[in-house]
Symmetry: C2
Subunit: 339 residues, 2 copies
């Protein structure tokens, strides 16, 4: 199968290539595209150089799967070009937010709702980074004890805003009191935390916070899960952390939750030590620690969830979706013009 990648020069695009290579994804060819700004470059993959063409004149024919690697900072490519790729016969796996809540688009976390890939009509969406790791940590608990309420506060790395986010933090760190023009962040991020990720909307919640509400409900097939989110940018390069408080509808004990987490797919659980984002080493796992019962409320718990936002929060999850398609032999865009 020929694999296409739009946004090949971005942080997520680069990580998709790394993950495809690491996981020995079976591909017969590779086509790379980026914005006209980055076109003309060459990218090395499995010892071979591949040219990066401009997405504006992309020919998607022959591609079985096309990844759209848009991050927060580079939006809209799938809105403009995904339909063309689908028409050419590819299945699009879109890392961007544009189609996630579309009723005809499966939103997949392979550990949670792999079966939903079957429903695709040419495009499958990769969820938001902060949603993915929370869902991986919660899904086994939800399946057994029904989560009814979540209060989450995030500590999100600058690479969630793409290379521009990393550049902003690095520059600000080098020059004391510098003010970066046109920074991707609404305030200084060096030695600071910023309680805004994407624009504020309904009820004063940010776009990122609403993603955690709605995407979680969609992935877990449960409109009744109440999510209250506060999403915050922190001066960490890569690795999102989350303080996740949750209440279950069914009775359960700390030991029962621990037993589930210890064998949950994609989860590394530690009941003694805790995890921090700087210690993640190119891992695709979601790290859960500091699980503890609420001091007074029954069936309420809080835990600390850390994962690599570029890998499990973006690239790895996208490649896992591609693997699901391959395994189920449904990597074929049967229908067209449906998104």
């Amino acid at each position: 199968m020929i694999v296409g990648l739009v946004g090949a020069t971005g942080l997520v695009g680069q990580t998709i290539l790394k993950v495809l290579e690491e996981r020995r994804f079976p591909l017969a060819g590779l086509k790379l595209w980026a914005s006209s700004r980055s076109a003309g470059r060459r990218i090395r993959f499995k010892g071979k150089n591949y040219p990066v063409a401009s997405v504006e004149r992309a020919d998607f024919s022959g591609c079985g799967i096309v990844f759209f690697a848009g991050t927060e900072g580079e939006k809209g490519a799938s809105r403009r070009y995904a339909q063309k790729a689908i028409a050419a016969g590819a299945v699009v796996i879109d890392n961007g937010a544009d189609f996630r809540m579309h009723p005809g688009v499966p939103l997949i976390v392979p550990e949670a709702n792999p079966g939903d890939v079957k429903k695709h009509r040419g495009l499958i969406a990769n969820p938001n980074c902060s949603t993915i790791q929370m869902v991986v940590a919660l899904v086994s608990i939800h399946k057994k004890y029904k989560i009814k309420r979540i209060v989450v506060s995030t500590y999100q790395a600058v690479s969630g805003a793409g290379r521009a986010g990393v550049d902003a933090l690095q520059k600000e760190m080098q020059i004391a009191n510098c003010k970066i023009k046109n920074s991707v962040f609404p305030r200084k991020i060096a030695y600071n935390v910023i309680p805004q990720i994407s624009d504020f909307s309904e009820l004063g919640y940010s776009g990122e916070e609403w993603k955690m509400v709605r995407e979680t409900q969609k992935i877990l097939h449960d409109k009744n899960i109440a999510v209250n989110a506060t999403t915050v940018r922190v001066p960490v390069m890569t690795g999102h952390s989350e303080s996740v408080y949750f209440e279950t509808g069914k009775n359960c004990s700390l030991k029962q939750i621990e037993a589930l987490l210890s064998k949950a797919p994609g989860v590394v659980y530690d009941g003694k030590e805790f995890f921090t984002p700087a210690e993640l080493k190119d891992s695709d796992m979601t790290y859960v620690s500091r699980l503890r019962p609420d001091p007074v409320k029954k069936n309420a718990f809080v835990m600390w969830v850390v994962a690599d936002n570029l890998r499990k929060g973006a690239a790895t999850n996208a490649v896992q979706i591609a693997e699901l398609l391959l395994n189920r032999q449904i990597a074929k865009s049967a229908k067209k013009n449906l998104i």
Copy 2:
């Protein structure tokens, strides 16, 4: 009145001197002490140099008020020397944690429970930094609508661990991948977040998290307030931030909460813009923004609370307690040997 200060060379001690000067605290004399390591230095206050003596041989006689400026990193001074200061006739205002939960010790946030100073028996405790700013933000809401439940996640600056905390972050920032020996932090803090502040204890909550539970209940005189806390160190020099979710026992609307916050003592409330810790400029106020109602639950809200941990979280609150004593003319240790 002669004022004494133990821990004069530390970050909190230095900030107490700054705040005393700014607020024109009426003092007739100043006596400074520190550990023997720092003794012998001179500190400038209102244009005059004052010697710093070793606390081991401190003579507290003549002092009306003695501040103990211990931070997390410099514990135990009040346990060893407070009784001596009280016996000499002083009222001790202790920034450390040693006596906060003692039944005979008032724990004061002047905006919340100023009347409790009357109950002192020689020692008054300053609450934990993260507790103070949360209580300042919540007390007016609690008085009117009775807060019954809080879920809080913190983003705490390194200066909360004293000068050693600031030094650790600065050093780690200068040298890539350096591992600091005997750091005050359990992991690297540069480009990282650490979900542990003080030792883990009951149910897996850290000491800092239990402080937020128990001190809040004590200050607000309500054992039934349920607090679930996750306290996290972030690479910010000064300024703690908190994501505070709360539920009230009585019916109230967003507008009613906003009205209370807009006139709450010690609070700066902004309904449109948000605050970040790096923007605090030597302010004694507690900054509340991003107040929003829970998307589904009635009488539930979440907000973002920022304050200077060295000032309102420590020095300013301590000086305000001293002002309360002066105003009520109770700055006199009537009883002895009671703590």
